[in-house]
Subunit: 424 residues, 2 copies
Amino acid sequence: MRIEIVAVGSELLTSHHLDTNSLYLTGRLNELGLDVSFKTVVGDDLDTLRIALENALARSGLILIMGGLGPTDDDRTREALALALGRRLVFDPRLYEAVKSWFRGKRVRMSPANRRQAYIIEGGRPMDNKHGTAPGLWMETGLHRIALLPGPPHELKPMFEAAVWPRLERLRRKYLVRRVLKTTGLGESRLEDKIKDLYPRRPDIKITLPASPGQVDIHVAAVSEGSASAAEQKAQKLMKKLLARLGDRVFSWNGEDLEAVVGRILRERKSTLAVAESCTGGYLGHRLTNVPGSSDYFLGGILAYGNRAKIELLGVPEAVIERFGAVSPQAAKSMAEGVRKRMSSDLGLAITGIAGPSGGTPQKPVGLVFVALASEDGVEVFRNLFWGTRDIIKLQSSQKALDLLRRHFPEEKALLLEKRSGGE
Amino acid sequence: MRIEIVAVGSELLTSHHLDTNSLYLTGRLNELGLDVSFKTVVGDDLDTLRIALENALARSGLILIMGGLGPTDDDRTREALALALGRRLVFDPRLYEAVKSWFRGKRVRMSPANRRQAYIIEGGRPMDNKHGTAPGLWMETGLHRIALLPGPPHELKPMFEAAVWPRLERLRRKYLVRRVLKTTGLGESRLEDKIKDLYPRRPDIKITLPASPGQVDIHVAAVSEGSASAAEQKAQKLMKKLLARLGDRVFSWNGEDLEAVVGRILRERKSTLAVAESCTGGYLGHRLTNVPGSSDYFLGGILAYGNRAKIELLGVPEAVIERFGAVSPQAAKSMAEGVRKRMSSDLGLAITGIAGPSGGTPQKPVGLVFVALASEDGVEVFRNLFWGTRDIIKLQSSQKALDLLRRHFPEEKALLLEKRSGGE
């Protein structure tokens, strides 16, 4: 049985809008072991829409159609599907009552146009819409299973979960479990080299490595024909091997971002943090404060973009900047110590570097970034040479600084290895 | 003539990947007055791919197909199209030389599999790929115009521009010009009310209002059947009316972001800036330093996340915090003055507020944010009540602060009205 997702709406054929609903539906179908064969995007024009649906009926057995169920003249999905199936649209008085009562509940006057929404295709069964006026429709013919869903995601998702998912569960072929390990400190190809021999050579478990600047995730997808727990066990077994191999390169195994991991560690250790940022200009503080409750451990920081700020606010000796430059291990060290002292924090984390596009020299090229962490034990400084545009260099610098902080607490590694056996 | 875009690749049918190439192609087609009727996404399976292409050939006259042109067994697009068209694939020795010479140029050994890429469909004309090994293909039959393009965007775009665009230009129906005005300070519906009567009631010029937190853009799309300059004139005429109506709500008419506008103003005025951030945690500094060359005017700042940082680093009097709280107009004023003084900058810009999700009270709810600007003329303070999640409140706060800075220089308005008559 081929599966097709059809997204209806002329706005989806402009250069601004992508159909994101289909990602959601695809993810849910995959959990049942069902793969999508075709995705189609088509506009509101009745004729074009009818052709797209005729083609879908000819090539696919399960068709999820979304959008174009509203009350306006542009909403032609019901009509087009009726034409493509060669079936009549019939008025459903009970459905009309449901649409009317939705408006009553909202104390909004119903437009006569909404009467359109009370028509269903002969043989179809309406699906309730708790978050909007457009009812959905489920149909089974000898050849097809078809769902008509509303386009707005906050209407589509609850309707899919309540009325489509239970019907699709009967088609379940497999149980699929996805797990994600997030890593930093190794590039995509070096990471792959390190774990390649662990790649399962079986069709029931798969690894993919989506990468972003400073981070490579390991997605494990395990399937079982028997049960969800059997799939879960397969995934866990592989995750244990990956963790044993990668150790503290892995910072998260439950979806947590690096800033959230760092935040959790600081809260658990009752440590406070202050930052001194040069080339990142506030991005490190921004990431740290994206975590709700970060005021428990994040005291603040100093954006020392210019040299004077480094000297006057952070106490970096003028001689250090003159002799070694503002982008130097000495300056980074002094910044980390300075912000720790000024803000009376347990930890001081500093970044200084050249984010580009200009300002680089042969000795100090764009992408040269020093990160330093000051604590009661002293200061650790690391030199990095990043590659990419200004925003990518800022992102990688903040990632490296957060990771330095994470690795400052080595117990975290043991914790990770211990916790992972319990799964999420 | 119906137009269809077909994206080939099983990874596009997972729940992670969206086809973004199609936005690019759609935008370029629209510039010729050509609308897309169908977008299809299909995997690598030969049979499914053939069906998708047969349907495309039956319903569309211009078909842009991308992806699946590589050397591996998963790359079946050429083969599937040949089957769908009922034509043979023929080996092209000259094309083979081109593929080989690409590898020679890169000093990389060619795999025997790359020989596949030297096959073309009978009647097709190869298109050169300067950025990869996969040649493209252009075909015209009595019924169809077809382009086969490589999937990677950095290969697709140059090939499209060099070899497909000139061929499509012959199909040009209209000249389309897009112009964007960016506004802040008015919500979507209030902005629409203000300009609704200026909406053209003609099919040749259209307004859309894409909105994001703290910003509503006005997209003007004008078409002319005669010439690009006629379309440009139509767009300019409407833009003048919109500008006259909206005045300094408009901050950009050439694509510049608010941080870039502010940066340009500060550079032109030779003014220096320092920031004091509480609830935004560095996001304002991050935005300001996303602009290359921002070190010319941005000196740095203080992230005063906790109260002690506000008192000790910014000199906010303890009594102000005790009496009015850290989220108060008095604290905001004191923060702006404090950072201006500490960093010896011409301007001090401060933000203090409650980004949530917790920390709100009935008197001071989540979303309450004060922004203040200190200059030699004194301090301006504004109270805001934003709505949304933590990240949206941070975004809106930074937007408001940047806009306060922009409006501090009233000449900017005259400049805008003067410059706009010259277009971009």
